[in-house]
Amino acid sequence: MIYRECGIYRTSYAKDMALFPIPLDRWATYAIAAAAFLAVPLLASDYWIGGLIVPFLCFALAALGLNFLTGYAGQLSLGHAAFMGVGAYAALILYARYSAPLLLSLLGAGLVAAGVGVLFGTPSLRIKGFYLAVSTLAAQFIIEWVITHVKWIGGGVYATIDTPPLRIMNWWLIDTPVEKYYLTLAVVVALTVFGRNLVRSRVGRAWMAIRDRDVAAEIMGISLFRYKLLAFAVSSFYAGVAGGLISFTYYAAANVEEFNLFLSFRLLGMIIIGGMGSILGSYLGAGFIVLLPIFISQFLGGVGKVVGRLVTTDLLANVELMVFGGLIIFFLIVEPLGLARLWRTLKDYLRLWPFPY
């Protein structure tokens, strides 16, 4: 009874198709937005904002991109970190080397990544599932190799481009963690709204049709060629913007080492734990994976104090990996649709609560 749809009459298709047809959902969303824009900068410390929330938002954006491809269009990618890397270098080359405006650099990062994504997405037209996963794995290695071996990109083996001070239009210097947080938040919110609209309209339906039954989708007149490549393009665009953004606001450099294969797996883990085919799931999964190491180190630190032994950092790192793997197996078996599905189950439960009918 707390969360109810009773008595809410939608009298036009426009109202029924609104993003949040239920008032409570709408108000909750406004409240979260207000909290994100006002409360977080006031309440959270610089460490929390700069060290956790900003990378969380960037990873959520990348996970969202991967979710379009894997959760909505049903195509697996193990090379998404590499697409982030492409975005990171593209953004910094544009911004630092050619002094392009900041937001245009991010847009350019997305577009370059989208182009590379389409290139590596072409095998999806011939192969599916496991084999496609392996061919996107090749993308990961090829892109890493190109970045470290083409001198023009990052200047050779270490391939690092430092981020110069961030300015928008030469007058707003983005320097403090809070300012970087606002930049990240604005980009991420805008792209999330865009993505939410995308998946609820014609394009999103075409993707889901391909995911559920590609033969039938083609018989409905959906061009597999166009929509699979579009999925790779949009997905890599998001990854590219996320890569550029995180290099601007968190790493303070574009560095190929950050965008390794393990990050690809982590992104996949985020959408498995968070929820395939769910926008909310991308956020939940990213938040979960970003917060997990902190939670584990706090927990093990506490345990260490109790038993009187020091917990070493390599033990922490290994425990983190084990928990990560264990969670993925757990979710694949118990709740393949992830945290987003659990949230939905809870909402369905609250609809009738406390009455059992």
Partner: protein, 274 residues
């Protein structure tokens, strides 16, 4: 023009005829050594329901697959409204107005009934990724317009109560009906129904037969219907084509085909025909 209703079953009714909408000309399909179709020809007239019957393995589904572009005949020609579509891709043939259902339901299981039908509107919509993502004016108006079209179909097929249910969770009979709706949403020039009543009980079959006749009344899509149940075929089709071992062995009105000795022997064996 008045179309045949359930009461004047099996007869040629007014409105059927004119230039053939779909022509299948001498189609051969081979799978390795298996000759699935050997020179089958047929014409589908405007507003008619043409039933294709035949024993298992006669090549009925193969014929539909070759019309919708899943297989390409060689030799042979498929002509839609005077245009040769023999070697077009399935998506291109769909864009030209050929809609179909599948023998084993092929709904998009993870999508709602509403979304399934909206996928049927895909070809009538224009919004690309940018317009969809911005969801401003153009895309929104388009969504609402096509939603209204789909809602009329949902009403027509009496599935209003399940419009927000996931297609994969529905009982089989309803899935078949949703799949018919998805094909109708395409506003096709030619409708291909591959065993729309397979695996249904009597009541569901009657419902489905009623819908097929109503669809024919309302829109008059020329329809090819594959069906095993002879009773249904006799009741709702204008003409019947009989396939056996990849060859056409009879064609004509239901009454005529029923008495054909070749058909009887294909279905019941040689002795029954003699």
């Amino acid at each position: 023009m008045v179309q045949s209703s359930a009461t004047e079953t099996g007869a040629h009714a007014g409105g059927v005829g004119g230039r053939p909408k779909l022509q299948v000309q001498g189609v051969h399909i081979n799978f390795g050594g298996v000759k699935a179709l050997q020179g089958v020809s047929l014409d589908l007239l405007d507003r008619e329901i043409l039933a294709i019957i035949g024993p298992n393995g006669a090549g009925k589904t193969t014929l539909i697959n070759s019309v919708s572009g899943v297989y390409h005949p060689s030799p042979g020609r498929i002509v839609l409204d005077g245009e040769n579509i023999t070697y077009h891709s399935p998506a291109r043939i769909a864009a030209l107005g050929v809609a179909r259902t599948f023998q084993n339901v092929a709904l998009f299981k993870g999508m709602t009934v509403l979304e399934n039908l909206l996928v049927g509107r895909h070809l009538h919509m224009r919004s690309g990724a940018l317009a969809s993502g911005l969801y401003w004016q153009l895309a929104q108006r388009e969504e609402i317009r096509h939603r209204a079209v789909v809602e009329r179909l949902i009403d027509f097929l009496e599935i209003t109560h399940i419009r927000n249910a996931l297609a994969g969770t529905l009982p089989y009979g309803l899935q078949k009906r949703v799949e018919l709706g998805r094909a109708l949403a395409m506003e096709p020039r030619v409708l291909l129904l591959d065993e729309p009543m397979a695996g249904m009980n009597m009541e569901e079959k009657e419902d489905m037969a009623r819908f097929i006749l109503d669809v024919n009344d309302e829109w008059g899509f020329p329809t090819i219907l594959i069906e095993h149940d002879m009773g249904v075929v006799m009741d709702i089709s204008n003409r019947v084509v009989v396939l056996d071992h990849g060859e056409k062995i009879a064609e004509g009105s239901p009454g005529h085909v029923r008495g054909d000795p070749l058909v009887i022997s294909a279905y019941l064996g040689e002795e029954a025909a003699a």
